[in-house]
Structures are given as structure tokens and as C-alpha cells.
Amino acid sequence: MLELRNIVVHYDARLLLRNVSLSVPAGQTVALLGASGSGKSTLLRVAAGLERPDAGSVRWAGEDITDWPPERRRFALMFQDFALFAHLDVQDNVAFGLIEQRVPRREARERAREMLRLFGLDGRTRDRVTQLSGGEQQRVALARALITSPRALLLDEPFSALDADLRRHLRSEFATRIRDAGMAAVLVTHDEDEARAMATQGWRLRDGEVETAW
């Protein structure tokens, strides 16, 4: 279980997050709602280890991992703009995390191709990521995040860059894939319909504090 306990974060002397606590059991997806600037993405970055809270702790299975660097936590973060590496082709983007786990490059690429086949992208393995459509890029980003079997998946407004039709189509596909992977997932979004379609539980951030949405 991923737990955030009494997280406090200041941003430019403003109190952005005030004693925020929430927990996400393995196998469940929770949604984090809130207006722009409410601190949703910051909370996700704190969980991922990309930002250090001013107070509070991040825990995994009861262990305090607040001081762990991002690479040790094994929480995959999916960025709003996908953050795909333009200097690598599609298969090497997906294989990136495996290579960091010391999987031999040939095997990593093979597993990446297998993953891409599952995602319906087997014809695009050697393409540059810039040649892909928005939906294809989104799938590559999810494949890259899931291939290392992370302990938790953190999704930062993953559909905001896509048009409405594609969003509807992809969110049901993503919900299925995340459920099948059986990991804890946190979805940050400002779209309540999207949140309800994908998450079993919803939280809302308002004035730096978290409250139950449903």
C-alpha cells in the first residue's frame, strides 16, 4: 500500500499542501481531483520522489521511503506531455526502464516489442516517437511505465493533451490495463467524469487540504 502521511509543501512561501494524508491499496486506482494550482501534481511528484516535502512522510508497505531517490522507489510516473525521449525510437523508449534494471539490451528490446504488440503498436517499434499520433504516444508512455512492473503507477493528467473522442476511448482501455497489472495507481485529473470512469475512490484537493469526493 502507498501511503502519504501529513504531507506539507510550501511553494514560494505559500502553503500549498497542508497535512495531506491518503493511502492507495495495491490493485486499486484512486483519483485526485482539484483545480489548477491546487497542488495535485506536486503531491504526485512528492510520491514519486521528485520533490521533497517540507514535512510528512511517504510510505510503501509501512516502510518510510521519504528519503529514497526516485529510481529506488519503483513508482512509474506518466507525465502530462508523455515525456517520451525524442532521441530514442519507440522500442528503446519502452525498454528504457528494463535496461536500467540491468536487463540485457537484446532481451529488453524483445520484451519491449512484446509489450508494444499487446498495445497494438507492433508496426511502430522502430519509428521515432515524434512520428506517432497523440494516442499512440500515450500508449507508448503507458507501455514504458508498465513494462518494469512498478509497485505503483502515478498518472499526471494523462489524457489532457488528447482530443475528447480519443480520451474516452483510451481511458477505458487504460483502466482495464491498469486493473490487469494489479498495482496501486493514482490518477491526477481535473475532469470528474474521467476520474469516476477510472477510479474506485476519489479525493479532492482544496485550499491545500484533501477531502473525500466519493
Binding site: R45, A48, G49, L50, P69, P70, E71, R73, R74, F75, A76, L77, F79, D81, A83, F85, A86, H87, L88, F96, G97, I99, E100, Q101, R144, A145, T148, L154
Partner: protein, 518 residues
């Protein structure tokens, strides 16, 4: 500011302290022996200082007058060969100074390709030096002009036209005010480069039209008048620092990331537009290509005896040393530049520091080192470190520019995918900045292969490089020596071009960030 983020800058800063700050302080100490105003009471030295300022100002005026129309053509008209013209313009930037000087001599000097048929005798006049200056600096003004004109808002120009302005009035009242800061920034650099010019002034200026840097060299090497030379060097430094400050002040005004709705380029249809394109092409050929073409022509027609110089053991050894010194220093400069450019991401003042070696001319650097480290004089490490110092800005600024282009969340994505900070740098940041880094390293290599001023000061007679060998040949009487110098200049040019091609992998489309305004 977290101090650990600046840690990579520790070694380069120590290097700059030892190679730039300490020598400057040593110059100050040396100059304190005489009244700095005494130089201005000496008619000969006063003339040197005033001429140095005047020739730099005249070059600025000429570069603006010639470069702005060319920039306008390149920014507003779309024509076949436009890209090639832009590349041709940038060619002089990678040409070693002595090669350029020989190119000018091959064109307009005694028996010059153009001078001889026209019966021109420009020896002993300032025109050779001014033309050489323009050859080197036209590209700075044109590139700044093109970038600035491409940022002029099309809707503002259209508004001016609908309010009754002719195309000329729209240019004068809307476009010109928008591009002035860009041009001013480029002209500051032109002034800096010309004021501190050494190789061109030494070869083309003769006794009368040489610059202060040449005078500093003569005072040190020929007269051992160190106090006077130091005082002159400090006046040079003060002038350059003032110009660099002005440059930095203008640069801050230029920090506008947004690109406006650009005025679209049109195909030349009217007679005037076609004439403008032709004039721009002829201008680029006459200023940026003619000296190189003349050099190649004169060298090609020099005959087998002149080319036989390439088999001399002395020449082969000089080539080996040129390559050896340059490649060793390049490795050093790349390491230092990477560290400095990396740290400059977190502290803007480090970018200014990285630029500092370009503001202090090689002559002043070398002279300061001689005074600061007398025991190390003529030691190989000092020469190599000086080469690296002169190459450092190209690498550091290119790295900083490359890092600016790396989306911050790429590194974060790599970290969440299991990469340590070092692995994220190796697998994400380095491949992304590689094109920019290669460009900086390529230009640094070209600069070092053609390095002349510091080599003349700091090397021993047995460490002759290609540039000093060319200079030696030029100093000897007889046309055979001039022909040999021309051949060696072609070899140096070929080496610089090969280095660029090997490192960058293609013809350079633009110089690195260190050399140009944004």
C-alpha cells in the same frame, strides 16, 4: 541556490582563476610601475589606441551598411540557393585568422588576383585590414539581422501599411526599431573582435595600421618594455570590458522567448526584388568567399615547387604538433566546458563567466600568463592550458544552450523509470545535447587549429605549429616563401574544415552560441 548544484563548476572556475584572473591581476601589478595616462601623452601609442578604436568602429559601420541589406534579402525573400548563401556567409567563422589574412593578400595584396589586373596597390593603406575585418564579421551582423527580422510581427507591419505607410516607411517606423537591439548586440561583438584583432592586423596592418594587441606583442617580444605593454594591455582590457558590459546590457533586453507571427518570405517577382537577390549574392561572394577563392587559386597556381614544401620534415612536424596540441587541449576544454555549462544551468552568472575568455584577447591572456607565471614560461602545459582556455567558451556556451533545450521532465521520467542521476545524464541528457555539444567542440577545434596569437607568445622555437610556420614564411623575402605560405594556409584551411566535418558530420549551418548574439 543549492551549492551542490554549482559543484561541477569548481574545477573550471579554478582553471579560469588561474588562467584568467591571476594573469589579469599580474598585468595590473606590472602596469602600476608607470602612470597609465602617460600612454595618452605619447603620440605614437595614442595613435595606436585611437586607430584600434577607429578601425573597429569603421568595420562596424561597414558591416552594418553591407550586412543589413543582405539580411533583409535573406529574411524576406525565398529563392533557390538561400540556404547555401547562409552557409557561405558562416564560412569565414571557421577560417583561421592567418588563412584569412593570406586570402586577403592573395586577392588584394601584391600580385593579388584582383589587385594586379586592376593595377591596385593597397600596401601601406588601411583598406586591407578593414576588408579582412569585414570578411570575418559580416556574418555576425547578417545573422543577427535575419533573426531579428524573422521576429518582427507581420501584423504590425500590415497595420502600418494599412495606415498609409509605404514599404520603406513601414520598415523605418516598425521593423527598424524592432531590430536595432539585435544589430547593436552584434555590432558590440564586431567591435570586440576587431578591437582585439591580432593576426589580421599583424599581417595586413603593417607598421602604421596595426592594432594595440600587435603593439603589445612588439613591446614585449621586440623591446622587452613590459611596463608599457602592461599599461597598454590594461587600456585594451578596460575598453573591451566596457564593450562587453554594453553587450550584456543589450542581451538582457533581447531575452524575449516568444516568437511573433513572422512576416512570410516571398519569392522574388519584381525586378527590384530580383536585383536585390543578385546584389546579396554578389556581396556575399565579394566579401565572404573571394579571399578564400583567391587563396585557393593562388596556391593551386603556385607550382609543384611550392607544394613540395609539404614533404619538408619541418612542415610535417608542425602539422603533427598542430594536431597534437589542438586535440589534447580539445579534450581538456570539453571536460571543463561540460562541467561549466552544466553548472550554468543553475546560475546565470556562470554563463557570463564562460564568456570571459572571449572578452580578453589571446594576446592579453598570453602576456598576463608570462608575467604571472615566469617560471612556467615556454612550458608545454601552459601552452595547452591556454589553448583550452580559448576553446572553453565555445564548448561551455554550447552545452548551456543544449541543456536549455532538454525538457526538464525527461530527466524526471528517466529517474522514475529507475535511472540514477548519472544514468539519466548518460542516457537522456547527453544524447539530447550531443548536436549542440558537437557544434561547440567543432568550432573549438577549428579555433585551436588556427590559434596564432597565444602560440606566438608562449611556444618555444622547436614547437612550431602550422600558424607560426606560415608567419615565419611570410617574414622571409622572396615569392617562393609567399607561395609556400599560401600552400600551408590551404593545408590549415583543409585541416580546420576536416575537423569540422569529422566532429559535426556536416557543413556548419551556424556558429555556436558562444560566438554569436542569440
Amino acid at each position: 541556490m543549492k551549492l551542490h548544484r554549482l559543484a561541477p563548476a569548481g574545477v573550471p572556475l579554478a582553471f579560469l582563476l588561474a588562467m584568467l584572473v591571476v594573469p589579469t591581476l599580474a598585468l595590473l601589478g606590472q602596469a602600476s610601475a608607470i602612470d597609465p595616462l602617460a600612454l595618452w601623452r605619447d603620440p605614437y601609442l595614442r595613435w595606436r589606441l585611437l586607430w584600434s578604436i577607429a578601425q573597429a568602429a569603421l568595420t562596424c559601420a561597414a558591416a552594418l551598411a553591407v550586412g543589413l541589406p543582405v539580411a533583409w534579402v535573406l529574411a524576406r525573400l525565398e529563392f533557390a540557393g538561400r540556404g547555401a548563401l547562409l552557409r557561405a556567409l558562416m564560412l569565414p567563422f571557421v577560417v583561421p585568422t592567418l588563412v584569412a589574412a593570406l586570402g586577403v593578400l592573395a586577392l588584394l595584396g601584391p600580385r593579388g588576383v584582383v589587385a594586379q589586373p586592376l593595377g591596385l596597390d593597397l600596401e601601406g593603406t588601411p583598406w586591407l585590414l578593414l576588408y579582412g575585418n569585414l570578411f570575418f564579421n559580416l556574418c555576425l551582423v547578417v545573422r543577427a539581422g535575419v533573426e531579428a527580422l524573422e521576429r518582427v510581427s507581420a501584423s504590425r507591419v500590415a497595420a502600418a501599411r494599412t495606415l498609409g505607410a509605404t514599404s520603406w516607411r513601414a520598415f523605418w517606423r516598425v521593423e527598424w526599431p524592432a531590430i536595432v537591439p539585435w544589430l547593436a548586440s552584434a555590432l558590440c561583438l564586431v567591435f570586440l573582435y576587431c578591437f582585439s584583432g591580432f593576426g589580421l592586423a599583424l599581417v595586413l596592418g603593417g607598421q602604421r595600421w596595426a592594432t594595440v594587441d600587435v603593439e603589445v606583442y612588439r613591446l614585449v617580444a621586440h623591446q622587452l618594455a613590459l611596463d608599457e605593454a602592461a599599461a597598454l594591455a590594461l587600456w585594451t582590457l578596460a575598453t573591451m570590458a566596457a564593450m562587453a558590459w554594453l553587450y550584456a546590457a543589450i542581451e538582457r533586453r533581447l531575452a524575449q522567448p516568444a516568437r511573433a507571427d513572422a512576416v512570410p518570405r516571398v519569392e522574388p517577382r519584381t525586378l527590384r526584388q530580383r536585383a536585390a537577390v543578385l546584389a546579396a549574392v554578389l556581396t556575399v561572394v565579394a566579401v565572404s568567399l573571394a579571399p578564400l577563392l583567391a587563396l585557393l587559386w593562388r596556391a593551386a597556381s603556385a607550382g609543384a615547387q611550392a607544394w613540395g614544401v609539404l614533404l619538408d620534415a619541418e612542415v610535417l612536424a608542425a602539422m603533427g604538433r598542430t594536431l597534437g596540441f589542438s586535440s589534447t587541449a580539445l579534450v581538456l576544454a570539453t571536460g571543463l566546458g561540460l562541467a561549466l555549462g552544466w553548472a550554468a544551468q543553475h546560475a546565470l552568472w556562470l554563463r557570463a563567466v564562460a564568456f570571459a575568455p572571449l572578452v580578453v584577447s589571446p594576446v592579453i591572456v598570453a602576456f598576463g600568463l608570462l608575467i604571472a607565471y615566469p617560471r612556467a614560461t615556454a612550458s608545454l602545459w601552459l601552452l595547452l592550458a591556454t589553448y583550452a582556455l580559448l576553446a572553453l567558451p565555445f564548448v561551455a556556451k554550447s552545452v548551456a544552450a543544449g541543456l536549455d533545450a532538454v525538457p526538464p521532465n525527461w530527466v524526471q521520467a528517466a529517474r522514475t523509470l529507475g535511472a540514477s542521476p548519472w544514468r539519466a545524464f548518460w542516457r537522456v541528457t547527453l544524447p539530447t545535447i550531443r548536436p549542440s555539444l558537437k557544434r561547440g567542440v567543432a568550432f573549438a577545434a577549428a579555433t585551436m587549429l588556427g590559434e596564432f596569437a597565444a602560440t606566438l607568445f608562449l611556444s618555444r622555437p622547436e614547437w612550431t605549429t602550422l600558424t607560426t610556420l606560415i608567419y615565419q614564411r611570410l617574414g622571409r623575402a622572396g615569392s617562393a616563401n609567399l607561395d609556400a605560405a599560401l600552400v600551408l594556409a590551404v593545408v590549415l584551411l583543409a585541416l580546420a574544415a576536416t575537423a569540422l566535418w569529422l566532429i559535426e558530420g556536416r557543413a556548419p549551418a551556424r556558429p555556436p552560441a558562444a560566438a554569436l548574439p542569440p
